[in-house]
Structure formats: C-alpha cells, structure tokens
C-alpha cells in the first residue's frame, strides 16, 4: 500500500523578522497514506499548509514531489503539480447551485455522456450531480440549492467534494471540517479511506485532540517545530491529551486594575445554530478572555456584539441601558470596537500608514467643512506613531509592510483615537512576536487603567490565563466559567 513517496518536505524553515515561523520541519508522505499534523492554534501549521499550496514562500529547505524538486511558487503551479487544498473557509461560487459548483471545478468529465451532447441541459447536470453526491454518501444534499443558502458545514462538505473532482495526487486539508457534526465527519473519513485506496496522499492538519481514524501517521507541531511523531500501530494507542505540550515560560505583564461599574452585558445571545445562549457581562477596567476550539463561534460572537453580524436573538446592554446594535455604526456610537485577527477591518490597505493613523482624527463633522492643513496632518501622524511606538521605515509607507505587532497597534489606535470604551479583539497576538506581544499587553494595561474594558477571544490559553481577569469557555454555543486546571481547558480545546 505504501509505495513511493509523493511529497517530501526537508528541513523547511521560515522566519519573518525575528519571529521564527517554522524551524527545520521534515516529513514525507507516501501515496495512499494520510499524515495527520496536529497543533494548537499559533503552532504555524497553517503557514506550512500555505507554503505547500504556493501561497507563501519559504526561506530554506526543500520540497520534493515524486522525488524531484518542486517549485511551488504560486497556487497555479501547486495545482499543476497535483496539489489541491482545503481551508476552513470554503472557496465556492456563492451564487451558483451545488451542481454548478461541482462541474465548475471539475477538470475531467465525471458526467455521463448526456452532458457531452447537451451542454445546456440543466436536468442532466443536476442528475449527474445527484449521482456524484450519492456516490460519496452525501446524497442528502440538494444539487439545486444555491450555495449561499447553505450552512458552513454543508459548504465545507461541498468544497471537499469539489476538490475530489480535480486531478490531484496530494490533498492538503487544513481544519477544513471544523463545522461538521460527528456523523458528517465519519462519512468524510470513509471517503478519505476510499481515495487513499485510489492512491491519494493526504495531509490532514487539525487542532483537535483526537487522532482522525484514517490517519496512518502523526506529527505534533508546536511553535513551528515538530515535537512528536508516531505511525502505524502505535498511533492507535496514543492519547493526545496526555502528551505534555511543553509550555514555554511566558511573562505576561498583567496589571492589577481596580474594576468599576458594569459597562456591558449580553444576555441569551443566539445566532442561527452556532450560538445558542451566550451571556456575559463586563466591567470598567476589566479584561475578559473567551476561549474555545476552532470553529466554535468565537469570531461570530465577536462580530455579533460589535454590529458586524445581525443576531438571531438576545439582548445587549451598555452601561445598564438596553441598546440596539444592528450595524457597525450603532456599535461605534455605543463605544464598542472590534479588532479582528487578520486586521481585516482595521487596515485600510490603499492608504498609507500616516493616513491610516490620522483617519479617525478627522472623522467628526467639525472637519467636514474646514480643509486639513498638510502640516498638521504630518505632525499628527508623526506624533501618533511615536506615542504608539510604531516601528516604520517611512510614515507614508503602505501599512502591510509593518510587522504584525505594529499593524495591531495601528489598528488599536483607531479605536483609541475614536474614543471607544469597549474593545473586542479576536486573536490579538496571533502572528506577533514576543516583543510585540509585550507591547500590545502593555497597551491593554494603559486602556484598562483609563477605565476602558477589553474582551479578547483567543485560542492561546497561556495568554488568556496570563492577562485576563476572568476566562469563559465557549463550547456548544454556550459560555461557561472555567475554574479549571490547565488540563481541563486543553482538553476542551
């Protein structure tokens, strides 16, 4: 069964400034083999996946496909080398139907002869799609349904099936089944076994604590380094929860701040079927941590309370008064501000660093009529950059050139200058190096001292334990207190 090696990664390393993302990673996969790579978030396994899909370059080491050196310089070249990848966000054409998506991505005809003759036969397309879905055990999906009506689980299944239609020999799955329930997941695993028998090599990256059934070998990755390997029979006997993930010593600068009045409360918040009954409250000067595994709804919760997504049910109270937050504008009016982990809403990419910094200063109506003097604009931007200790080459540089930590500070400054009182941060220090982390934590301290409040949603348990006044666990759509030991938290995640 294990014949030749399809994919070999040898001493792969990647660093960004002083942050080492991957250090000396080596492994190989044979055809018909599934390698499971398990790592908590911030273990840089996604970086590894991105390198193999051609989305990111690496600094040193080699990648070999079928024994020969492979230059994966772009997603296109990755595709032509036979690599197909699946991420957590399913990449589909939202306004087409399931059937159309399947045939859109399919390279070879998996359709019966009818399609070859009647290109426009919608019925034929639907029928072929139906048999395709049934073949893989997902016949309950309706081929005529438009993709934007599907839930995340169904989209992830569809993305997986579309990947099967491509002529690939290596499949990279990066946390692509986070929204599936156990039945759907076991069906996926059955399909994985099928394609393994057909010779497919599978790289399955996940953060869950259970070894997936079809896996033939296992790697544990932490902080970009492989810390444990196992294969074959030994795999069945492993209990991942018992392997000590060595926690490097971290010095979290937690400042004891006197808490004030309650400033925010949400009760019985619900969103579709992801969040069922979420309630918590927040006081002035308090920093609250919400932890939970991938896909459990942390980002969704963050977006709900900051006006980016409409909630299905529940109430929100700011300063003990009920408020209606149905848009981002409502949230800003109430002093709530969201900062996402990919800084999506923070960085205005087509503006320079200087413009990003001073943007909120000139947001009020006062400046609508008066012109902005360019000297004042330069002074203000220099002043802000130095106050926030942002390391830049040129104040007019594009903001993407900043390191992650500096980008985060820049985004935080928008909220600070605009006078936000409640900051909601999703994975605040993801991708940030130690020095940047200390700076960001100290910025939090500053805000808390002034009576602001912070909610951080994180999968980094050390950060939650080190910096937060209280930690809540989001699981099965509900928040609960964690009195717990580290092991308890780790098992849940």
């Amino acid at each position: 069964m294990h014949s030749h090696i399809t994919l070999e990664v040898s001493h792969l390393s990647k660093a960004y400034d002083s942050l080492r993302l991957l250090s000396d990673v080596s492994f190989c996969i044979h055809s018909g083999e599934m390698l499971s790579i398990v790592g908590q978030n911030s273990s840089f396994k996604t970086t590894l996946a991105k390198i193999l899909c051609g989305l990111e370059p690496y600094d040193s080491g080699a990648v070999l496909i079928d024994g020969g050196p492979a230059n994966i310089s772009s997603p296109h070249s990755a595709r032509s080398l036979g690599i197909v990848s699946l991420g957590e966000i399913a990449r589909l054409c939202e306004d087409l139907t399931i059937a159309e998506n399947i045939f859109l991505f399919g390279k070879r005809g998996i359709s019966p002869a009818k399609i070859k003759h009647n290109w426009n036969s919608k019925k034929a397309v639907v029928e072929s799609a139906r048999s395709f879905l049934a073949k893989y055990g997902f016949g309950w999906l309706d081929p005529c349904a438009a993709v934007d009506t599907l839930g995340l689980a169904e989209k992830q299944i569809l993305a997986f099936l579309c990947a099967l239609t491509q002529d690939a020999k290596i499949m990279i799955i990066d946390d692509a089944f986070s929204a599936l329930n156990p039945e759907e997941l076991s069906q996926i695993f059955r399909v994985l076994e099928q394609i393994k028998d057909d010779g497919m090599s599978i790289l399955y990256l996940s953060s869950c604590a259970k070894v997936p059934e079809p896996a033939d070998s296992l790697l544990l990755i932490q902080d970009g380094k492989i810390i444990f390997t196992a294969s074959g029979e030994a795999l069945r006997r492993i209990d991942l929860a018992s392997i000590p993930f060595s926690d490097p010593p971290r010095a979290y600068p937690k400042l004891p701040v006197k808490l004030g009045e309650e400033v925010f409360r949400c009760e019985h918040l619900s969103y579709r079927d992801l969040l069922k009954d979420v309630s918590f409250c927040l006081r002035e000067g308090e920093i609250l941590g919400i932890v939970g595994g991938a896909g459990v709804g942390k980002t969704t919760l963050a977006r709900l309370i900051s006006g980016h997504l409409p909630k299905s049910g529940g109430d929100l109270y700011v300063n003990r008064k009920p408020v209606r937050i149905s848009s981002v504008h409502d949230a800003y009016e109430n002093g709530l501000r969201l900062i996402l982990d990919d800084r999506e809403f923070g960085i205005i990419r087509h503006l320079s660093l200087a413009e990003n910094l001073i943007f909120p200063c000139y947001n009020s109506r006062k400046f609508a009529l008066s012109p902005i003097s360019s000297r004042k604009y330069t002074e203000t931007s220099y002043c802000l950059a130095s106050r926030l200790d942002i390391n830049y080459f040129d104040i007019n540089q594009p903001p993407e050139l900043l390191s992650a930590g500096n980008q985060q500070k820049m985004v935080l400054s928008r909220g600070i200058v605009a006078g936000a009182n409640i900051f909601i941060l999703d994975e605040p220090t993801r991708g940030v190096d130690n020095i940047g982390r200390v700076q960001i934590y100290n910025m939090f301290n500053n805000l808390l001292r002034e009576g602001k409040s912070i909610v951080i949603l994180t999968s980094d348990l050390g950060e939650a334990a080190g910096m937060c006044d209280r930690i809540l666990l989001l699981e099965d759509g509900v928040l609960s207190e964690t009195p717990g030991a580290a092991a308890q938290k780790r098992n849940a995640v």
């Binding site: 971290r250 947001n363 802000l384 200058v417 020095i435 200390v438 700076q439 301290n445 500053n446 002034e450």
Partner: protein
C-alpha cells in the same frame, strides 16, 4: 505636537526662565507667531501669565508655586511620573513595603493617598514626608547618615545594625541607575547598594523601576543579577535584547504609552 502639549511646554519654560519671547517660541516649535500668540492668550485667560510686547511673563502667584518649601527637587519628569503611576497599581491595602530613594519612588509616595493600612519602610526622607500626610500610614525611616544626594533627601548607609533582621516585605520598590544584561542592576552610591542588597534579600517581590535611559548602562555599584527582579517597570520601550531576556526568564515588563490626549474630540 498637539496644542495642549505645546502649552505645557510653554508653561515649563516660563517656570524656568520667568519670561518667554514670541519669535523665539515660534522658531522653537516651528509654527507661526499667530499660533503662539493664541496660545499665550489662552494661558493668560487661565491666569498663568501676563502678555507683554513680544512675549509674556509668568504671573507672581505661579512663581511662588514653583518653590514648594518642603522639598528641594520634588519635580519629576513625565517618564518618571508614568512609572510611578504603574507602580502604584501593585500596592494593595494592608501591605508591608519598602520604598527606595530617587524621584520615581518619591513620586510613588505622592500618589498612594487612597490606599489603606500600609506599612512603609523607606530610606527616602522626601517620600516619608509625603506618605505621612496620610495619618493612617505606618511609616518607618531607616537610620543612618542623613543627607542630600543628587537633589533628594535620603539615608544612604542604613541597616548595618540589623534593623532589618525581623522584617519581611511584601514588595520592594527600587529605582536603579543602570541595567545591563551582563552585570545586572547597579546604582551610583555603594552604601545605597549595600542597603538595597539587604532589603532585596528580605522579600519575594523585587520591583525595579527605571527610565529607558538606564538600560544598557553600567553604574558603579552592582546590586545583583538581571534575574533578581520579579517585575520591571519602565516608561518607554526598552531595547529588544532586554525584552527577550525578561520574557524568557518570566519577568513581566510594564511600560506605558501616553494615550491620554490623543483622543479626537
């Protein structure tokens, strides 16, 4: 810089030089004389100065305020003030703490007014005076030669006679003159160094306060290794190698950002 900062600077210059000149200010801050005149008008309306032809002079009432009779140099610069503010958050009610000499620790003593039932042992006389303004505090002064060092009152050569024998501190706050990764923490005065060494042996929590200019500096008398501190408080960002070192040795570093006046109205 922002207008409020500029006005603060003008006030400071007035306190130092007693009078200011419009054309010199406009060259210094690189702004037009019209803006300076507007600033001076505002400050005059607040009663701080009186405008004259070509400039302004400090008002008498303010001149007197600048010379408080109970201390020689009781002013501290903004960096030290930020450090002291952060340090004050670590002091809880009912604690037994030690405060060292220097302007940072003196500043800490000024802002502890709301705490309750503190026992403070100190060799910083200026701090002791400020602390005793709160009658509930229990203030114990070190015995030794009293003098003025670098502009502050203090007792440098204390605790030779076993004063400390039965004491144990919850927290010790010391300000140092030099921090280096090779030699650790150091101060200028060797007697003070011995005092600090004895005090640090009597506690589980050594909090070192230092402005960023003290990093990578080596002063005369070495107190101890870099990992003897349990917390570091500074104002601005410190050099990377220090940040790395402290992070890896489980020593949290606290620093401050001046974010209070950047909020847009």
């Amino acid at each position: 810089m922002f207008a409020s900062e500029r006005r603060k600077k003008i006030c400071q210059m007035l306190m130092d030089y007693k009078s200011v000149d419009v054309s010199r200010l406009s060259k210094l801050f690189n702004i037009s004389t019209v803006t300076i005149r507007k600033d001076l008008e505002l400050l005059e309306s607040e009663g701080i100065l009186t405008r004259t032809h070509g400039g302004a002079i400090l008002n008498d009432s303010f001149q007197q305020q600048g010379q408080a009779p109970d201390a020689i140099e009781d002013m501290c610069n903004p960096e030290e003030s930020q450090i002291a503010t952060i340090a004050s958050h670590f002091i809880q009610d009912n604690e037994f703490i030690f405060l060292g000499t220097g302007s940072i620790c003196t500043q800490i003593s000024k802002i502890l007014t709301e705490k309750k039932n503190l026992t403070i042992v100190t060799n910083n006389i200026s701090a002791a005076i400020h602390l005793k303004k709160n009658p509930e505090f229990n203030v114990i002064i070190a015995s030794g030669t009293f003098g003025v060092y670098n502009g502050y009152y203090g007792v440098m050569d204390a605790f030779y006679t076993g004063f400390l024998d039965n004491m144990y501190f919850d927290k010790v706050f010391i300000a140092v003159d030099g921090i280096s990764l090779n030699t650790g923490y150091s101060v200028d005065n060797s007697n003070l160094c011995l005092t600090y060494q004895s005090v640090c042996a009597k506690t589980g929590e050594v909090i070192v306060c230092a402005e960023s200019s003290k990093f990578s500096r080596n002063s005369f008398a070495r107190i101890g290794a870099p990992d003897m501190a349990t917390k570091i408080i500074t104002a601005e960002a410190i050099p990377e190698e220090f940040s790395d070192y402290f992070y890896n040795h489980n020593i949290p570093v606290y620093h401050s950002y001046r974010l209070d006046d950047i909020q847009a109205d």
